[in-house]
């Protein structure tokens, strides 16, 4: 059982345009890629990956709607209610690994680099629409000798998508694994590119969440519950899912395009 925990915010950091990190004490064991449900009383309860897993945990929020804007406006000393952690996170793999982050996906991925703590074994590709939205570049450099960025508009790093960048990096160097989080269209092309280069990997998905504990069924993709069977899946599992990269369920359970 995950008791609702009320936590006091110890630190807030603006990571980029529209991105904010909140840090707090949360004494539970968490795997990279696991998430919590954050309650905003009177508004909503929403899933958020834990972006820092040390003693002082963190979530990194991209402000997209009402709840994320309210979370983004919280200050040091304010309190926040969360339950979790939920789901199957990223595995601790031994081998040369390329971490690929698209937008807010960096929140779920960076803790892997921190856990590996091996500068030569991990390379990191971070992509965003534009320079101001790139997050965790400095943090990445603490854990890897090879950190590259891409922006859709070319305002920093390679011009193009983070998948283009990852493809380029896979040509330069042989990787054993990919670990990635970002928009699903990005993940599905990354999965293909990885296959072409003989690299398998783990990918973290998002679906509409209510319970977080695997009973309500609102987060399912092809019969798998993203909250408990995922959110992190192996590429081989995703290849057998006809909805991956194509469709999801809305709040009523109707199938809609991504």
């Amino acid at each position: 059982m995950h008791k609702l925990a009320f936590l006091r915010i110890k630190e807030t950091v603006v990571e980029g345009k529209g991105f904010k990190t909140l840090r707090f004490m949360f004494n539970r064991k968490v795997r990279p890629g696991q998430f919590v449900m954050v309650w905003i009383p009177g508004v909503d309860e929403i899933p958020m990956s834990l972006s820092y897993l040390g003693r002082i945990k963190g979530i990194t929020i991209r402000e997209v709607g009402e709840s994320t804007k309210i979370l983004g406006s919280l200050k040091v000393g304010d309190s926040m209610a969360i339950r979790g952690p939920f789901g199957r996170g990223f595995e601790r793999l031994s081998g040369k690994t390329l971490l690929v982050c698209g937008g807010a996906g960096a929140a779920a991925v960076l803790p892997i680099a921190e856990e590996m703590d091996n500068r030569e074994r991990v390379d990191i590709a971070i992509g965003a629409r534009t320079k101001d939205e790139l997050i965790f570049e400095e943090r990445s450099k603490m854990y890897s000798d090879n950190v590259r960025t891409s922006t859709d508009d070319g305002s920093e790093g390679c011009e193009g998508t983070v998948v283009d960048l990852a493809k380029h990096m896979m040509k330069e160097r042989k990787y054993d694994f990919l670990q990635a989080c970002g928009p699903e269209s990005m993940l599905s092309s990354l999965l293909k590119v990885g296959k072409e280069h003989g690299v398998s990997g783990q990918f973290s998905l998002e679906r509409f969440m209510r319970c977080g504990v695997g009973i309500c069924g609102s987060c399912v993709i092809n019969g798998k519950r993203v909250c408990t069977d995922g959110p992190v899946f192996w590429g081989e599992e995703l290849e057998s899912m006809s909805d991956f990269g194509r469709s999801k369920r809305d709040e009523s359970g109707q199938k809609i395009g991504l």
Partner: protein, 302 residues
């Protein structure tokens, strides 16, 4: 050979464990995953006429002995649900279609759609405790229950199961109304109306304020309801509420249930729960030299 096979009003299942309504049952593939995990049959999410988004989050509170939920009957609407049923049925699952409505005619309409989709039985949700105008608001009035069951019985040829609420002192009258109207089986219980307040936030946690309590906390209530009804009706009863082990299932069976539904246990124990309960029941039968589970139904009654 000890047999777990049961026959509920003509619906034959290889074992007595059924996936409860509203538990991962919104898509065909997830229904199938529960069936493949060992359930003898699976009940769909309760489906209405139109698509419904349900309530906003929080819709679930985790408690030490169960869950409190107020999902608000989210569902894609009967028309788009056909393909989900078809998928599960084609995959080999025995599917029971759960429906909800606010009037008898619509219950009948939804049930006949479900029959056309290929379900083996329908289950009428007369018991959801947190949706205004639906569920329990209808299911606490024996006259209304009778009217709904009569209308549905006229519209389908498959067995009609009626899911009842424990949130009433008239459970016996209501069970008798189901039987009198020709209902084929009673499912008891749905969740118990309840709420939780966060003392830190100083407000109710569920966005809907009220919800339904499920899990081990409600098992004694479920067992009591089944026991009371067994004395007054002849139609088979399916027990539900807090079943997590074979011992829990056996308790319901001794109280008078011919089969059981499992919901919250899937979150608390995992999808393997069906196999575990069935394995335990089978071993129990063997160790006692009992041939069929049916011999144990209602044995707790003096």
């Amino acid at each position: 050979m000890a047999s777990l096979r049961v026959n509920v009003a003509g619906l034959v299942m290889e074992n007595p464990t059924i996936l409860g309504s509203g538990i991962i049952g919104e898509t065909g593939e997830s229904l199938l995953s529960a069936y493949k995990a060992g359930a003898g049959a699976v009940v769909t999410k309760s489906i209405g006429l139109e698509a419904r988004k349900g309530y906003s989050n929080p819709t679930l509170v985790e408690l030490p002995f169960g869950y409190l939920n107020a999902m608000g009957l989210p569902n894609p609407g009967i028309e788009s649900f056909g393909e989900e049923v078809l998928l599960a049925v084609r995959g080999g699952a025995t599917v029971i279609g759960s429906v909800f409505a606010s009037e008898a005619e619509v219950f009948a309409q939804l049930s006949s759609k479900m029959e056309a989709f290929g379900v083996s039985a329908v289950e009428l949700n007369l018991s959801c405790p947190h949706a205004s105008g639906y569920g329990m608001e209808l299911g606490v009035d024996p006259g209304v229950v009778r009217e709904i069951v009569l209308a549905v019985k006229k519209s389908v040829t498959i067995p009609v199961f009626v899911k009842l609420t424990p949130n009433t002192h008239r459970i016996i009258e209501i069970a008798q109304a189901v039987q009198a109207a020709g209902g084929d089986s009673i499912v008891a219980i749905n969740t118990v109306k309840a709420m939780a307040i966060s003392i830190e936030a100083g407000r109710p946690i569920l966005s809907n304020i009220f919800g339904g309590l499920s899990g081990p906390a409600v098992k004694p209530i479920g067992v009591r309801c089944v026991y009371e009804m067994y004395d007054v009706v002849d139609i088979p009863i399916i027990g539900a509420g807090g079943i997590e082990t074979w011992q829990d299932a056996l308790e319901y069976i001794m109280a008078g249930a011919v089969a059981v539904q499992i919901g919250s246990g899937i979150g608390r124990r995992g999808l393997n729960i069906f196999k575990e309960v069935n394995f335990g029941l089978e071993r129990y039968l063997k160790s006692r030299g009992i041939e069929s589970l049916g011999e144990l139904v209602g044995t707790a009654h003096a």
